[in-house]
């Protein structure tokens, strides 16, 4: 008796569930469902936690505080569906499949990092979702933008990064500020391989002497042999295409060893607030990948809002953070201009429109932005963009780098 009652109740609940499910889409749009899968755990978690997640959360909070996205003549709040991709391409693909087929989200925000963005590219393209890859650096960006017209590669190519750095070196050598000996180390992983691969011919073409050129495995815990070897060669320029833990390790070791070349350039992580937090006054003059126009009111305002929005007052990183936030502003403006959930029209608008963002006005050409910050330098507690020198707000680099201070 009890069991049949239970069964009946379960049946009713099931029917009610199915009914509400089928009624759902017929109702007017009450929310815009946006989904993402981010690396909350695994090796990518460190980068995603600094650069991507705070911006996603801040943007959603801000948009909802203003009443939501403007769809047509009314505002619709954003509803978030999120997963952990555990830093794995398979998990990211699975999560996106789920977002598309089961959660039926209206838009998808990209994962963190080059590898995962490349992994989810085909899925987003096939399903017709716009793909604003804000944290991917790949030399295949122009080719990918052609193959997947829905994808936008906001950080550009590693050749761009390496060439801009070399251009800056050539200019400084021309001004007599540096000589032509370069020591280069790179991490034996995607980023380091790409960047050093692009830098080698560029340096050779510009007649720089590459006195030291070594790679090291990911997760190397003591980088002092590299720093000591480089120091012994007394180069004018030290370049490290490194990941965040190595960036901190190399800088620390250079300070300990008193290795103070005229230019000290490190890779991912130099633009992180952690770098300034750890090295304080010693960050002064260190160059690294990325940068932003630290004097622009929009960036200053963004920095203040970011600090206020995050629980522990965390600052954004001075490279991809602002680009990530800008990509969300672009998505928002495109959606609002289209005025309805029409992904194809939103992609079209992204391809052709001009967008007002924290990093200035952005317009895509062949799905790629037209300008990037590639070289930045810590100057007076802020990481300013110094290259390309033609960018609006580019600062003059401080050369030679000031001596390391005793702490």
């Amino acid at each position: 008796m009890v069991s049949s009652v239970t069964r009946l109740a379960a049946g009713l609940v099931a029917i009610a569930g199915v009914a509400s499910f089928s009624v759902g889409p017929a109702l007017a749009q009450t929310s815009v469902k946006i989904g993402y899968a981010l690396s909350r755990t695994g090796p990518n978690a460190g980068g995603a936690a600094v650069t991507t997640l705070p911006n996603y959360e801040m943007w959603v909070k801000e948009v909802n505080a203003a009443g939501g996205l403007k769809i047509g003549d009314k505002r619709v709040p954003i509803e978030i569906v999120q997963y952990d991709d555990r830093s794995s391409a398979e998990e990211a693909a699975k999560a996106l499949d789920r977002l598309i087929t089961q959660d039926k989200v209206d838009f998808i925000l990209p994962p963190w990092g080059t590898g995962l963005n490349l992994a989810v590219g085909p899925i987003l393209n096939k399903a017709g979702y716009p793909h604003l890859a804000a944290t991917a650096v790949t030399d295949r960006a122009p080719e990918l933008a052609k193959r997947w017209p829905n994808s936008f590669w906001l950080l550009g190519t590693s050749a761009g990064a390496a060439n801009t750095l070399v251009e800056l070196l050539v200019k400084l050598r021309g001004e007599g500020k540096i000589g032509d000996t370069v020591a280069m180390v790179s991490v034996a992983d995607g980023f380091g391989i790409d960047l050093s691969g692009a830098a080698r011919p560029a340096l050779a073409k510009a007649n720089f002497k590459l006195a030291y050129d070594k790679t090291y495995p990911v997760g190397t815990q003591d980088l002092s042999p590299l720093v000591n070897e480089a120091k012994a060669l007394n180069p004018d320029v030290f370049i490290a295409f490194s990941y965040p833990p190595d960036t901190l390790g190399l800088t620390e070791q250079a300070r300990i060893a008193g290795f103070n070349p005229k230019i000290f350039y490190t890779g991912v992580g130099t633009a992180f607030p952690l770098f300034k937090g750890k090295f304080g006054a010693n960050a002064e003059g260190v160059m690294g990948i990325g940068g932003w126009n630290g004097d622009s009111p929009a960036i200053k305002d963004y920095l203040a809002r970011h600090k206020a929005a995050s629980a522990n007052g965390a600052e954004p990183d001075r490279w991809a953070s602002s680009v990530t936030y800008a990509s969300l502003q672009m998505l928002q403006q495109a959606i609002e201009r289209v005025g309805k959930i029409d992904r194809a029209a939103v992609i079209k608008d992204l391809q052709t429109g001009t967008f007002d963002t924290v990093i200035g006005k952005v317009k895509f050409e062949n799905n790629l932005p037209t300008k990037y910050w590639w070289v930045g330098q810590w100057q007076g507690g802020e990481f300013y963009g110094v290259g390309p020198a033609t960018n609006e707000g580019a600062r003059t680099p401080i050369i030679p780098k000031p001596a390391w201070k005793a702490q």
Partner: protein
């Protein structure tokens, strides 16, 4: 050359320090603790928190974190692992069960750290002052970590070889059923060894946090390294742990300096495999049966 050897020794000392706790937990208590690295990172976080939040010097922090590590490990063993120990018919079965249990524990500890600190990288500067040793410049924090690693290692070695209690621990490591025959409380000794392991891993976490960048997800790196050192040195053998750690550190530093920094991992594994081929039980391990 001097520089390469000095850096290698310090790196090796760090490896030995990381692995010492595991060799006790695995060798004596037979708990293959896969969450070992997570506990190390947790201690690093504790140290970071004490240092940035309370301005407490990490070396003073040791006085808080190490006993906490001991206590937490003791509780873990009594509450979580004792049922496994009771249930397991043989030590090998316990090893398998403990792998599964601590694998789960790894996610729990990692999850707690992620909720508390988020996934970002953490690093702070403490005593990163250059000091001259034999005409070479080294970082004071690494030097202190090395010194303390040696101190802990020697103290533990003496305790294990010179005291009655230490002899009992070694007896359990070698043959628990025979140990029982001479009135050694095997369960107690195992719990104690596991807890000392916990205290050591806490010490390692605090010392390493002074100079390495860490995040809630970086535990697995330390578990792997500790495992290699423990297996290479001979499970449960403290001296083996020290020798294996130093050998790995030295080989890494020498190869990075004189051959190519890209080959350090390859040489590490070659050394590991080489030792296992010649001595399958590890450098100081006793062959089974």
């Amino acid at each position: 050359m001097t520089n390469a050897i000095l850096t290698g020794l310090m790196l090796g000392g760090m490896y030995a320090l990381i692995a010492m706790g595991l060799t006790l937990q695995y060798g004596v208590a037979r708990i293959m603790n896969l969450s070992y690295g997570e506990f190390l990172v947790a201690a690093a976080f504790a140290s970071y928190w004490l240092f940035t939040g309370w301005a407490l010097n990490p070396l003073v922090g040791l006085a808080i974190v190490v006993p906490t590590g001991f206590g937490v490990s003791m509780i873990l063993y009594r509450v979580l692992l004792t049922p496994l120990v009771r249930r397991a018919p043989t030590r090998d079965a316990l090893e398998v069960d403990s792998i599964l249990a601590t694998f789960g524990m790894m996610f729990i500890v990692q999850g707690i750290m992620l909720t508390m600190f988020g996934g970002a990288y953490f690093s702070y500067s403490f005593l990163s002052i250059p000091v001259a040793v034999l005409g070479e410049t080294l970082a004071l924090n690494r030097l202190i970590a090395f010194g303390l690693a040696v101190l802990f290692g020697v103290a533990l070695y003496l305790a294990l070889t010179r005291t009655r209690f230490g002899t009992a621990i070694r007896a359990v490591a070698v043959d628990p059923s025979a140990a029982r025959l001479v009135a050694i409380d095997v369960r107690w000794i195992s719990a104690f060894a596991f807890a000392i392991g916990g205290a050591l891993v806490a010490a390692a976490g605090v010392l390493i946090s002074m100079f390495l960048t860490f995040s809630a997800s970086s535990g697995v790196v330390f578990t792997m390294k500790a495992l290699i050192v423990v297996v290479m040195g001979g499970v449960g053998n403290l001296l083996g742990c020290l020798v294996a750690g130093l050998a790995l550190g030295l080989s890494e530093s020498l190869v990075a300096t004189f051959v190519d920094p890209g080959l350090t991992l390859a040489v590490n594994f070659a050394l590991f495999l080489g030792v296992l081929l010649v001595k399958p039980a590890g450098l100081f391990g006793r062959a089974q049966r």
